[in-house]
C-alpha cells in the first residue's frame, strides 16, 4: 500500500508518530481509499500553505495555541466566564421569551418554543462545522489540539441536534397536527444526529489508540465528509417545499416581528457561550486524562 510521507519531512519532530499513523491507517482501513483521501488532503494542505507563503502570509496564528500548556493558561480562566455568562443569558432570554413577548397571531403560545429551537438548530449545525474545521486543521496543519477539539465538540453538538429535533417535534404537534414528517429539513437534521453518533463512537474508539485523546485521521475525514450535510440542511426548505416553513431569519433580515424576535438574541448568545464552555471543559478533561495516561505508561515502563 503506497503511503505518502511528504508531510513527515516537513515535520521532523513528529516523524515517528506521523509515519505510524499513516501506516496504521493504511493497514486497518477496509476501504483502500482512506489513505489516498488522507494524502490528497495533506497535498492540498501543502499547496495551500505554499500559496500562503508565496502570497506573503506568515505563520498561522493558530499555531501560537498549539502548545497545550499555553492553551490551558487561557482556557482555565475563560471557562467559568463562558459558562456562567452563558447560563445567565439563557435564563434571561428564556424568561423574557416566556413571559414578556406577545403570543403569535397564528401559532399562539407555541411560538415560545422558537427561543430554544432556533439556537439548538444553529448550534447543532455550527458544532458540525466546528468539527469539519478541526478536521481540516488536524489533517492539513497537524494542529495538536484540533483532534481533541473535534472530539470535545461532538457531545454538545449532538445534544443540541437532539434538542432541535425534540423541540421541533413538540412544536409540530399543536401547529401542524403531527409530531413528525419525513420532510427535507427534519430528515436532514435527523441524519446530522446520526452523523454525530457515528463520530462520537469512532472518536471514542480511536482516542486511546495512539491518538493522544484526540480523534484519528479516519474520524477526521468522516467529520469532513459529513459536512456535506450542513448546506443540505440549510437549503432543504428552499429545495423541497414540504411541511417545514421557509427560512425566517436570513442575512438580509427576518420575517418575524421585532416584538417576538428580540429575546432570541439573548438565547442564541447564551447557548453559544455555554457551548464554548462545555467544549473547553471537555478539552481540559481530555488533556488531563492524556497526561495521566502518559505518566502511567512511563511508570509501567519503569
Amino acid at each position: 500500500m503506497p503511503v505518502c510521507r511528504l508531510p513527515v519531512t516537513k515535520n521532523p519532530r513528529n516523524k515517528k508518530s506521523c509515519l505510524a499513523t499513516e501506516q496504521s491507517v493504511a493497514a486497518r482501513c477496509p476501504f483502500c481509499l482512506t489513505p489516498y483521501m488522507s494524502n490528497f488532503i495533506v497535498h492540498f494542505g501543502q499547496l495551500a500553505t505554499g500559496l500562503g507563503a508565496w502570497a506573503g502570509v506568515k505563520t498561522m496564528p493558530m499555531h501560537a495555541y498549539a502548545n497545550p500548556a499555553r492553551f490551558l493558561s487561557i482556557a482555565r480562566p475563560v471557562t467559568p466566564w463562558l459558562f456562567w455568562g452563558g447560563l445567565v443569558l439563557i435564563v434571561l432570554g428564556c424568561a423574557c421569551g416566556l413571559f414578556l413577548t406577545p403570543a403569535d397571531y397564528l401559532q399562539g403560545q407555541t411560538v415560545r418554543i422558537l427561543y430554544i429551537h432556533v439556537p439548538a438548530a444553529w448550534l447543532g449545525m455550527g458544532g458540525w462545522t466546528g468539527i469539519a474545521i478541526a478536521a481540516v486543521m488536524q489533517l492539513v496543519w497537524r494542529h495538536p489540539l484540533a483532534a481533541i477539539a473535534g472530539r470535545a465538540i461532538a457531545a454538545p453538538g449532538a445534544l443540541f441536534t437532539a434538542i432541535c429535533l425534540v423541540t421541533g417535534s413538540l412544536w409540530g404537534r399543536p401547529t401542524w397536527g403531527t409530531y413528525w414528517q419525513w420532510d427535507g429539513r427534519m430528515t436532514s437534521m435527523l441524519v446530522l444526529f446520526f452523523l454525530y453518533l457515528g463520530y462520537i463512537a469512532l472518536g471514542n474508539a480511536s482516542a486511546s489508540n495512539g491518538n493522544a485523546g484526540g480523534v484519528s485521521r479516519v474520524t477526521a475525514i468522516f467529520g469532513l465528509v459529513g459536512a456535506v450535510n450542513i448546506p443540505i440542511i440549510n437549503r432543504s426548505v428552499v429545495w423541497w417545499n414540504t411541511l417545514h416553513q421557509g427560512p425566517s431569519i436570513t442575512l438580509r433580515g427576518s420575517s418575524i416581528d421585532g416584538a417576538i424576535l428580540w429575546p432570541l438574541g439573548l438565547t442564541v448568545l447564551g447557548f453559544s457561550l455555554w457551548f464554548g464552555a462545555i467544549v473547553l471543559m471537555r478539552m481540559r478533561a481530555i488533556l488531563a486524562e492524556t497526561k495521566v495516561e502518559a505518566r502511567m505508561q512511563r511508570l509501567a515502563r519503569g
Binding site: 418554543i113 429551537h117 445534544l159 434538542i163 455555554w274 462545555i278 481540559r284 478533561a285 486524562e289
Partner: protein
C-alpha cells in the same frame, strides 16, 4: 389544543439536557484534573 404542555415539555427537556451535560462535563474535567495534579504531586 392547549399549547402550554408542549411549551413546558420543550423547555424542561432543554434545561434537563443542558444541566445534565454541564454536570457530566464539569465532573469529568474535575476528576481528570485532580488525577493529573495528584500524579504531579507524587512525582
Amino acid at each position: 389544543m392547549n399549547p402550554w404542555p408542549f411549551v413546558i415539555a420543550a423547555y424542561a427537556l432543554t434545561f434537563a439536557g443542558t444541566l445534565g451535560l454541564s454536570i457530566a462535563a464539569w465532573r469529568a474535567m474535575r476528576a481528570a484534573e485532580q488525577r493529573a495534579d495528584s500524579l504531579k504531586r507524587d512525582r
